[in-house]
Amino acid sequence: MSEFTLWDIVYNLALAARWTVLLSLTAFVLGGGVGLLLLMARTAGNPWAMRLVRGYVELFQGTPLLMQLFIVFFGLPLIGIDVSPWVAAMLGLTLFTSAFLTEIWRGCVESIGFGQWEASASLGMNFRQQMRYIILPQALRIAVPPTVGFSVQVVKGTAVASIIGFVELTKAGTMITNATYAPFTVYGCVAVFYFLICYPLSLYARHLEGKLRHVAR
């Protein structure tokens, strides 16, 4: 009935999937950068910075991603900043990602035993040197598998951007469905696309976990 062949569906979804990947990558990279700054603030020992970061993390962990996007998308215009769906989605997902990565990494930093701090202190290192040479290199090794694992959550999280009208994989699926009236086929294809992006990441995270070497346990 429809003029869409299966090939057309797949082709159009593939085009939209590029935006899903781009949005995920952007959110992940920017979120990682912000997360690292927050992590430093959280661990440096200033109680106010600590409380602030903790509040930030709890805010984002305690509300649905969808609400966070709505607040960015509808809230910023209220204070006179108009944002496109792309900017809103990127901003919202970056904030979301930074909060979760900060928390994951904080756990990794705190899993480094107190003895490492003491030994490096007794050798005359200051906080910056301890972080740079002793704590972060170890924390990063431990952090890689859960971080890669979390990237899967980011990819799946990009789906909510469809609701504010950003045309990524899910939104494209909805649009094609409206044209074809074949929701099962279309959303089936959408799911396959998500799976093709996420599954290798999960596999890779698991592989990295098996490869951890020379870390204190």
């Binding site: 030994a119 490096s120 202190a121 007794s122 050798l123 005359g124 290192m125 020379h214 870390v215």
Partner: protein
Amino acid sequence: MSLVELHAIYKSFGELEVLKGIDLRIEEGQVIALIGRSGSGKSTLLRAINGLETINDGTIMVAGKKVGDRDTDLLTLRLNVGMVFQQFNLFPHYTALENVMLSPQVVKKLSKAEAKEVAEEMLIKVGLSDKMLHYPDQLSGGQQQRVAIARALAMKPRVLLCDEVTSALDPELVNEVLAVVRQLAEEGMTLVMVTHEMRFAREVCDKLVFMHQGRIHESGAPEDVFANPKTPELANFVGGLAGAA
């Protein structure tokens, strides 16, 4: 002038007063053993000398200079006073050589070549010339502890603090570490060690300090202290050890 002088050191953890006015002088070249029951404050005292515990009251002087609470004072203190821990605390992500090189390079700003030279010298000194490129998880406990000693020595401290450096080791590995400590003592290194190895303390140390409930209860030459303890607490402690052995 003593190398390190402690005067009226007090330290509490919350309500619990752990150090109750410690006076101690550490002379250049002296080898001091700290003994006493569990919980008497030995580790806390060593950690205070290294600036790992902030004290509530009292003064610490190193080479005649008072240690204040500025960051540079703490750094000066730690450059003069090295420490070896019961649990080794090696950096697991670096090789033995890198463990020893790191601080000379980063803190003392030696060039990589200079730091490597010092590190190799120290690792040879502790008998690990063939293990330099091993990671800590590829070394036995005794070897790890010797790396930790080399790491502290590479900073060329004037005093080395050792907190029960053999307590975490399997019995058959204790001697290789004690041999290194003995060698350091013979070379004239100033040492303060918390130990339960009484025979070793007796043979190697110039001075024995018995701590009891946060105070220095008795101190003196090892022969005297062991042969005629002046207080019942020390007699008890020494007797308890003999009984256990």
